[in-house]
């Protein structure tokens, strides 16, 4: 069962069984964006609090919560994502997002100078997903939803 163990690392199952930062935030002040995976129907809600949004990349992600349902991969990826972004600069969050998507083998990720040094921490555990094209969409679901949430939080007029 080597393939499976490679996919379902203990740390992933841990985040799946005990998801971090599950819940809701009041909107406003938080931003809420829903995402879903068209292939399987999984749904996720990202609640995002950004401080000093007008500072753009220098604004700070002060809180994030996750709602919705999904498989072990989408749920654990979202859970780890919350840990990886809370308290970070928006610019740094975007760098983590790029690095993670490129780990997932997503093409057309515009890696930028400095992205190399980003430490993915727990998220590295998800690299076994790359072998399963359909599951990659699960792993990045939370991240794509977070991207939209960031765009909306920084430019609410849009």
């Amino acid at each position: 069962m080597s393939g499976l163990e490679d996919l379902y690392r203990e740390i992933i199952l841990d985040h799946y069984r005990t998801p971090r930062n599950r819940g809701e935030l009041d909107t406003p002040p938080a931003t809420k964006v829903d995402g879903h995976n068209p292939l399987c129907g999984d749904e996720i809600s990202v609640y995002l609090m950004v401080e000093d949004a007008e500072n753009g990349d220098d604004a700070i992600v002060t809180d994030i919560k996750i709602g919705g349902q999904g498989c072990s991969i989408s749920q654990s990826s979202a859970s780890m994502m919350t840990n990886a972004v809370i308290g970070k600069r928006v610019g740094d969050v975007r760098a983590v997002s790029r690095k993670f998507k490129s780990l997932m083998g997503i093409e057309n990720v515009d890696l930028q100078a400095g992205d190399d040094e980003v430490d993915l921490e727990d998220l590295e555990a998800l690299q076994g997903v790359v072998k399963f094209p359909v599951r990659i969409k699960c792993a990045v679901l939370g991240w794509n939803t977070l991207s939209s949430a960031l765009d909306e939080a920084l430019d609410p007029a849009e």
Binding site: L7, C40, G41, C71, R135
Partner: protein, 410 residues
């Protein structure tokens, strides 16, 4: 009865492919079917010896190729008991066939406020084209609901059909396996003057099909689900309807003449076959139909009924309350498609664990999101059988499920 050992030997992928030194237990035929040796060989041989344009050039090679292509039409007509091969139109898949109906027939015959009746268990291919038409011209879509055991709830059929112009429904659900009463629905549609459109994608590969006995008006299905190649689908229709319909795609082959001012259309079926058609695919499809005819569709159905009984019993006995299988329990009104919920596990994870022992099933909404809503779930795990599956495959599925909770420890 079918001898599954003998049948499976004809499918190279099932007989020879291994992953981790073990054979593939293919339980995803509701999605697409494997291809028997003779279908592969027919395509290979045709490309090696006879490939040429059809309907356009007059040399002998082109004549041979044209005959081979048209042979596909005759084979399909035979399989579904169509009155004439000219009523069989080759499309790229069943989805194109259903779009053709909604667009060519629908745009001509439907206008704002007109009613199209669908069922809650339709595949997106028989929903979205009608919703596109609804966006474009404001037709109304009504839905036939389901009973608790996943059959069509026909108690208010008269009401739903009242004033309807179209009834479009699946002859077998790709999620529940349910086999609605096709003949009854066609005659109910006709009783109110509505067109009866049948999505027979899941039906034709598994049953004896008789479009005349149904008295259907238009019937769509796909080659790739019935042992044939990808890249070719079919629309059968009553000639007088097809004759009266405007074309769908424009281009070569579908015209009678073209001038700088405009064009006129060729007779059916050419009218609906713009451009170079799936030539090699029609040849492979012919071989697939011949394969099915030799096995006998009645035998296929009988085999799958027995296997369906075995699957329902095995899964329910081994997993009791841990498994919920959707759809009817009576194998007379259902085919071999098993959608289920298993413990608290997400279908993606179930499918992933099953894959570890090479058990191939689909996890997701199966292109039937409205039905998921009706069932109150986001997705299901689905195993689906075909003429090459046997009880050992069902046992492999059950064994795989047995191991699933260990990993997640839920």
């Amino acid at each position: 009865m079918l001898s599954i050992d003998a049948v499976r030997k004809e499918f190279p992928l099932l007989a020879e492919r291994t992953i981790d030194d073990a054979r593939v237990v293919y339980l995803d035929s509701g999605n697409t079917s494997q291809k028997p040796r003779r279908v592969i060989d027919a395509m290979t041989e045709f490309m090696e010896t006879t490939y040429a344009p059809i309907n356009r050039s007059s040399y002998r090679l082109a004549g041979e190729a044209t005959d081979a292509y048209e042979g596909g039409r005759k084979a399909v007509a035979r399989l579904i008991n169509a009155p004439s091969a000219d009523e069989v139109i080759f499309t790229k898949n069943a989805s194109e066939a259903l779009n053709l109906v909604a667009m060519a027939w629908g745009r001509t015959n439907l206008s704002a406020g007109d009613v199209v009746v669908l069922t809650e268990m339709e595949h997106h291919a028989n929903i979205v084209p009608w919703q596109m038409l609804a966006q474009e011209r404001g037709i109304e879509i009504r839905w036939i609901g389901l009973t608790d055991d996943g059959q069509l709830d026909l108690s208010n059929l008269d009401e739903l059909l009242d004033g309807a112009k179209v009834l479009a429904f699946t002859a077998m659900s790709n999620v529940l396996g349910t086999l609605p009463p096709t003949q009854l629905l066609c005659s109910a549609a006709h009783a109110v003057g509505a067109l009866a459109v049948v999505d027979a994608c899941q039906y034709v590969p598994h049953n004896v099909t008789d479009v005349q006995a149904w008295d259907a008006d238009l019937v769509a299905f796909s080659s790739h689900k019935m042992c044939g190649p990808t890249g070719i689908g079919m629309l059968w229709g009553k000639m007088e309807l097809l004759d009266a319909m405007p074309p769908f795609l424009g281009g070569g082959n579908m015209i009678d003449t073209v001038t700088f001012e405009g064009f006129t259309t060729a007779p059916v079926p050419a009218k609906f076959e713009a451009g170079t058609p799936p030539i090699v695919e029609a040849v492979g499809l012919t071989a697939a139909v011949e394969f099915l005819e030799e096995l006998g569709m009645a035998n296929v159905r009988q085999h799958e009924m027995a296997l369906t009984r075995y699957a329902l019993d095995t899964l329910n006995e081994r997993f009791g309350d841990d498994i919920t299988i959707y759809g009817p329990d009576n194998v007379e009104v259902r085919g071999g498609v098993f959608s289920f919920a298993f413990r608290d596990l997400h279908p993606h994870d179930v499918s992933q664990v099953l894959d570890e022992t090479n058990v191939c099933v689909r996890a997701g909404h199966h292109c039937a999101k409205p039905l998921m809503k009706t069932l109150g779930v986001q997705s299901t795990t689905r195993a689906s059988v075909y003429l090459y599956n046997d009880e050992a495959d069902i046992d492999a599925l059950a064994d795989g499920l047995e191991g699933a909770t260990d990993i997640f420890g839920l």
